[in-house]
């Protein structure tokens, strides 16, 4: 690792001042589980590492029935998945965050970092996308909100400018008759990177026999986490039955643009898109029905 300076600002203002002055040579660190590895292999070589863990706004974790869930960008995964409101209202976030790395990684890593690292395989991003989450991005004097579905722009790249930082991720309050779910395929039982990951969100009508809205997002099958809007369009207003869910799986397969690599061939990944999408939608439906 080349020499790097380290700052640990204790206020958002001082963090933003640092970024205004030298954002182009600064990397922001939360849990450090990705950035420290990148520094060590020199795929990132910033002059300054800015530790964001002591900034109060980035440590917020709060839930409100009207405004939903606010996840500070530096909240570690173990705090998120142990939170009673997250467990009750956002089980898909628990699905995602309990399978990122192992226990020591979850003690450090953050959803904010997972988003900003912008890996196509990130396990938390599809869930955030299907839940309709937005990212609050701050620079000196300016706050902007970006839907998580538009946050990533390529493998490891995103909409953040050098003078900006992610402050919170905001997830809408859960609607009645709705639930979400995330699952991935890995050849091992744990500690692996998704061959394919699928997040789904389903909202049914009051009698539970028609889809009102459905979102599906895929990991590891495109340069960015993929938001499969074709499924949302197709399933909206349709009956809940195997045939329609089968078609959703087919649409996921058609939307995916996977590559072949050591984790799986493109063909295998497309097959998995279809299988996992069907399973995940069914799991979301089970959650709505309390099964």
């Amino acid at each position: 690792m080349k020499y790097v300076d380290y700052e640990r600002p204790t206020s958002l203002k001082s963090a933003l001042d640092i970024l205004s002055e030298k954002g182009d040579v600064t990397k922001i660190m939360a849990g450090g589980t990705d950035i420290l590895v990148k520094l060590r292999v020199r795929s990132e070589q910033p002059d300054l590492l800015m530790d964001s863990k002591e900034i109060p706004e980035l440590n917020e974790l709060s839930f409100n029935h009207d405004t939903g869930l606010t996840i500070g960008a530096a909240v570690p995964l173990y705090k998120l998945y142990a939170d009673a409101d997250v467990k009750k209202y956002y089980p898909a976030l628990v699905d995602s965050t309990t399978i990122i790395g192992g226990i020591p990684i979850q003690g450090r890593a953050t959803v904010g970092g997972n988003l900003c690292n912008s890996a196509p395989s990130a396990d938390s991003i599809p869930t955030l996308i299907v839940l309709g989450a937005t990212a609050s991005i701050q620079s000196s004097g300016k706050l902007r909100e970006v839907p998580v579905s538009e946050f990533c722009t390529g493998p490891g790249s995103n909409v953040l400018k050098s003078n900006e930082m992610l402050v919170t991720i905001n997830v809408p309050a859960p609607a009645d008759n709705s639930a979400a779910h995330y699952m991935r395929f890995i050849p091992r039982n744990e500690m692996d990177i998704a061959v394919v990951g699928v997040g789904s969100y389903v909202k049914l009508n009051a009698s539970g026999d028609k889809f009102e809205s459905v979102n599906v997002s895929l990991a590891s099958v495109a340069p960015t986490p993929l938001n499969v809007t074709e499924i949302s369009k197709f399933l909206s207003g349709k009956d809940v039955n195997d045939e329609n869910i089968e078609k959703a799986g087919q649409l996921a397969k058609e939307a995916s643009k996977p590559i072949s690599d050591m984790r799986g061939t493109a063909e295998y990944r497309q097959h998995l898109c279809s299988v996992l999408t069907k399973r995940s939608i069914n799991k979301s439906i089970e959650r709505i029905k309390g099964a």
């Binding site: 300076d5 380290y6 849990g31 420290l36 060590r40 790395g101 226990i103 020591p104 003690g107 500690m191």
Partner: protein, 162 residues
């Protein structure tokens, strides 16, 4: 070139101060700066768990923590597990169950086990395997380690009860 930072921390209950460069990992600081070599280096990228320590009550891989980050924080390392010459029940259980061969992963496993049992004194086999998934052992095949952890839980419970 190399500006050093002063770090004040508590390791195994004792105040420790050291100087390090911001780029140095906690693992490097423990081993090369402070001279506490019980914590081992394996992969140096968070996969193998040989360097596991407890930081503010959470298990972390010390290769993915910077030395400067532990300023004002509290750490437990393998050196803080035994009570002087008296082994901790986890250490005894690992010995009795032959849960180690070459030994390089053992400090990490013992720290991870300590942390598991602190959080969950009566874990199922599934919970043990899940919690220890971030610790790799290339010798034992894990079964002996799982048995040692189960035995550790019993020993600690017996100690607390008696």
């Amino acid at each position: 070139m190399s500006k050093k930072v002063h770090v004040q921390t508590i390791i195994n209950g004792e105040d420790v101060e050291f100087l390090c460069e911001p780029r140095q990992s906690l693992l490097e600081c423990l081993r090369d700066v402070i001279g506490m070599t019980g914590t081992k280096e394996g992969c140096n990228d968070g996969n193998c768990g040989a360097c596991t320590v407890i930081l503010e009550g959470r298990t972390v891989t010390s290769c993915l923590v910077l030395g400067v980050e532990v300023d004002g924080k509290e750490l437990t390392t393998i050196e803080g597990i035994a009570d002087g010459e008296k082994l901790h029940p986890i250490q005894t259980a690992f010995l009795e169950n032959a849960a180690l061969q070459c030994g390089i992963c053992t400090p990490g496993f013992i720290i991870a086990t300590k942390s598991l049992l602190d959080h969950n004194p009566d874990p199922s086999e599934y919970e043990i395997r899940w919690w220890l998934a971030n610790n790799l052992c290339r010798c034992t095949g894990y079964d002996k380690i799982v048995r040692a952890v189960q035995e550790s839980a019993k020993k600690i419970k017996a100690q607390a009860g008696g």
